[in-house]
Structure formats: structure tokens, C-alpha cells
């Protein structure tokens, strides 16, 4: 899936190195992999960071293997490849995300979180949370700040916040500095994939109650 419109908000090198090194939490990896499926610019960058890993691997001092290592490996090969996860067909989201939803956007089990906004938490490791957000045309996600990092990737529609406009394929990397209120553009409902490595901080008390109920 390569979106036709021009992507203007990309992943940071920091995140791409983390993805390449394998040190990001699973939820972040999901956002990165989904963005890379939509953005060749970042895919090329990610692959260049993989090349650094390749150069490091090649320069490693060696560790001897057991005498039978090659024979054991040939035995593993003879067993055949591990069954690959079946590829979801004809999904409206990139493959890595589709694997977590178990299909396309129609298969998402949305839950209302107030003001017309809906979300679905995706199952990942606990170090960070990934969720899909459905923001109806013109609606806003309550004003919030972040303790850690929040990645928001637009899948459909567009939103604006205090910093810029984000359309399909764009990713916003928000850190502790940013306190923002994303609003979906009029005309289309906006669907995003978001990941946070710390709970969001809402300004009003009502979203705080909702937060404890809905794991925002």
C-alpha cells in the first residue's frame, strides 16, 4: 500500500534507528512498520539503518559454535520452514496493521470514548499501548499532554492540531513538550493508529475518568 498523496510528516531518525536496532516497544514497531508500508522515503531510511547493523555484524569478533552446529542446522532445514502467518487478503490497511486487527477497518471492534470519538486497543506487549482512533469529521480528541512519546499515524482523512495538518500516511511524533488537541478535518472522518509509551495527560477531569476506564 503506497498512498498517492504526498507524505510530509515522517518518522524521526531516532525512531528509525530504534526500529532497525530492535529496541522499540512492540506498539511503536507497529506504527513504524505501518508507516514504512506507506512511505518509501522512510523505508529507504530504515533500510540504510539496517545496513549499519549489517556492517556491525560483519565486523563482529567471532564466537565459536559447537562441533555439530552445521549438522543441527541442516536438520532444522530438513524440517522445512515454520508455517508463515496467513496473509490477510484485500485489506484496506497495510499488512502489518491488518495482522493486528485480524482484517480491515470494517473488522475493528470500536468502543466509544466520548464526544463521538471511538477507539480500539490492539494487543501488544505492555511497554507501550497501540490503539486505533476514530475521530468523526469536525470532532476533537480531548486536549492532552504526554509523559513519554506519542506516535499518531493517519490512515484515513486528516487532522489538525496546534502544530500542523496531518493527512493519510503522515505521522506525528509528540513528546513531553507538546500539549495538543487534534481535530478531524471537516468532510471526512479521520482514522489514526496511535501508540504511547506512557499514559496521556488530559487537562479536564472528565477525560481523566474516561482514561481510567478505557486505558487511554
Amino acid at each position: 500500500m503506497n498512498t498517492m498523496n504526498k507524505i510530509t510528516h515522517h518518522l524521526s531518525d531516532q525512531l528509525l534507528i530504534g526500529y532497525s536496532a530492535g529496541s522499540l516497544p512492540e506498539a511503536f514497531n507497529l506504527v513504524v512498520a505501518t508507516h514504512l508500508s506507506m512511505c518509501d522515503e522512510c523505508r529507504a531510511a530504515a533500510q540504510s539503518f539496517d545496513s549499519i547493523g549489517g556492517a556491525l555484524l560483519q565486523a563482529q569478533p567471532t564466537e565459536n559454535l559447537g562441533d555439530a552446529a552445521l549438522a543441527k542446522t541442516m536438520a532444522l532445514i530438513a524440517k522445512g520452514p515454520k508455517a508463515a502467518a496467513s496473509k490477510p487478503v484485500g485489506s484496506d490497511v497495510p499488512d502489518p496493521l491488518s495482522a493486528y486487527i485480524g482484517g480491515g477497518l470494517n473488522d475493528v471492534k470500536w468502543r466509544p470514548i466520548g464526544l463521538g470519538v471511538r477507539q480500539a486497543v490492539l494487543k501488544t506487549s505492555h511497554a507501550a499501548t497501540a490503539r486505533l482512533l476514530y475521530i468523526p469529521s469536525g470532532a476533537a480528541v480531548p486536549d492532552h499532554g504526554h509523559r513519554g512519546t506519542e506516535l499518531t499515524l493517519v490512515l484515513q482523512g486528516a487532522f489538525r492540531d496546534e502544530t500542523a495538518r496531518f493527512a493519510a500516511g503522515d505521522v506525528e511524533v509528540a513528546d513531553e513538550e507538546l500539549h495538543h488537541k487534534p481535530v478531524a478535518e471537516i468532510g471526512h472522518d479521520c482514522i489514526c493508529l496511535a501508540a504511547t509509551d506512557a499514559p496521556l495527560r488530559f487537562s479536564a477531569w472528565i477525560p481523566r475518568v474516561a482514561q481510567s476506564l478505557f486505558r487511554l
Binding site: 514504512l36 518509501d40 552446529a69 542446522t73
Partner: protein, 218 residues
């Protein structure tokens, strides 16, 4: 003759250079016997041809040579990333078995063999040590008809060699930082200080390779 020179250049100044060069020239003799055409078009990187031999002929000799060079490095990488020697040994065998099974997915216009093995080892590490799934971007592969051009393969392998050389030339402290980011457990926040990676032109080459690939996919 030119080939041997290239290979010595490629391995750079390491204690194993001589043994490796000798090892490679033997491998090249085998390769000439089996694949004269390939040797002419891609003289530079013999590991690419090893993978091709595994892919097309299930060539166990080629696999054994590749194993001899890369498996001890994969094991070292896994141990640096926190695996016990026993676990690193088992995982290395699985990584090398995956290499055999996925040989048909290797695209030499987009990665060197060591880069490709690095990604397999990294994913194994995430799976076995960190017990996480690893979401990967959608796969982009040349269709059954198309294949990368030999010149693109050559350029990518040269870029990768240059990157390896540039990494070796880095000041020790900077190299340590990069190693820590890749093998240690630096969080992405801690990687912030990481600058000056010697990427050269490899990123724009990869961008170009993706554009070509997209064109054949349409």
C-alpha cells in the same frame, strides 16, 4: 586476479584477512565452475552468489561456506544483545535455517548479505529474547518475471562495502555508541545523541531501488 584484490579490499584490516581471502578464493574457484556467467556480471561480492546457489540449487557447499563465515558472527551479535551462550547457539542455528528457507526473498539490489542476515538475527532476538511479535512493513518483491539489474546489484554491494569501511574508520568512542544503540538496550530516547552515522549515499541508492521496484509492480 582482480577478484582477489577486491576481496582483500572488502575485508579490510582485520586479523583474519589472510585466512578469509584464501577461503574466498577457493570458493570463487567452485563458483567459476558452476556459474561462469554470474561470475562475470557480479564479480564483487561472492556471498550474493552463495545465496543464489542456495536459492536455485539448494547448494549445501555454498551454505556451509556461508555458515562458516556468518554463524560465528551471528552468535557473537546475539550474545552481545543479551543471550546466554546456549541460547545464542540455538538461535544462530535457527537464523541460518531461516536464511536457507527465505533465500528466495533476498534482494541484492536492496541489501548486502550481511545486512539481510542482520535483520533475520535481529528479528530472532526480538522473538526469542524479548518475546515480542515483530511487525514488518509490507513485503515488496520483484514479480516472477522481473529481477534487479546486475548493475544495481553491483552498486548496492559496493555501497555496502564502503559503509563497512567507513564504520571501521570511525573514532572508537563513536563506534562504541553506535554498537550500544544496536546491541545494547538503549531506548529510542537515549539514541538521541547518535549522530554522524557514515551513511554516505546508501540511503539515496535505496530510495532509487524502491522507485524501480514500484515501477515494475504497477
Amino acid at each position: 586476479m582482480g577478484m582477489n584484490l577486491d576481496i582483500v579490499q572488502e575485508t579490510g584490516a582485520s586479523g583474519r584477512q589472510l585466512a578469509y581471502a584464501a577461503f574466498n578464493s577457493n570458493a570463487l574457484d567452485d563458483q567459476k565452475a558452476n556459474f561462469p556467467a554470474v561470475t562475470q556480471t557480479i564479480p564483487k561480492n561472492i556471498w550474493v552468489d552463495h545465496l543464489k546457489r542456495i536459492q536455485t540449487d539448494q547448494d549445501q557447499q555454498a551454505f556451509a561456506e556461508l555458515f562458516g563465515y556468518f554463524a560465528p558472527r551471528v552468535k557473537a551479535f546475539l550474545m552481545k544483545s543479551g543471550a546466554s551462550p546456549g541460547m545464542a547457539e540455538d538461535c544462530t542455528q535457527e537464523v541460518m535455517a531461516t536464511l536457507w528457507h527465505k533465500a528466495h526473498l533476498f534482494d541484492p539490489s536492496r541489501a548486502s548479505v550481511s545486512t539481510w542476515i542482520f535483520t533475520i538475527a535481529r528479528n530472532k532476538n526480538i522473538d526469542a529474547l524479548r518475546k515480542q511479535r515483530r511487525p514488518e512493513p509490507e513485503e515488496l518483491t520483484w514479480g516472477p518475471e522481473a529481477e534487479p539489474e546486475a548493475s544495481d546489484v553491483l552498486v548496492m554491494q559496493q555501497e555496502s562495502d564502503q559503509l563497512s569501511q567507513a564504520m571501521k574508520a570511525l573514532p572508537g568512542q563513536q563506534r562504541e555508541l553506535i554498537e550500544k544503540a544496536y546491541f545494547g538496550d538503549l531506548s529510542h530516547g537515549q539514541i538521541a545523541a547518535e549522530t554522524g552515522l557514515p551513511l554516505g549515499t546508501i540511503k539515496s541508492r535505496l530510495r532509487l531501488a524502491l522507485t524501480k521496484l514500484r515501477q515494475t509492480m504497477k
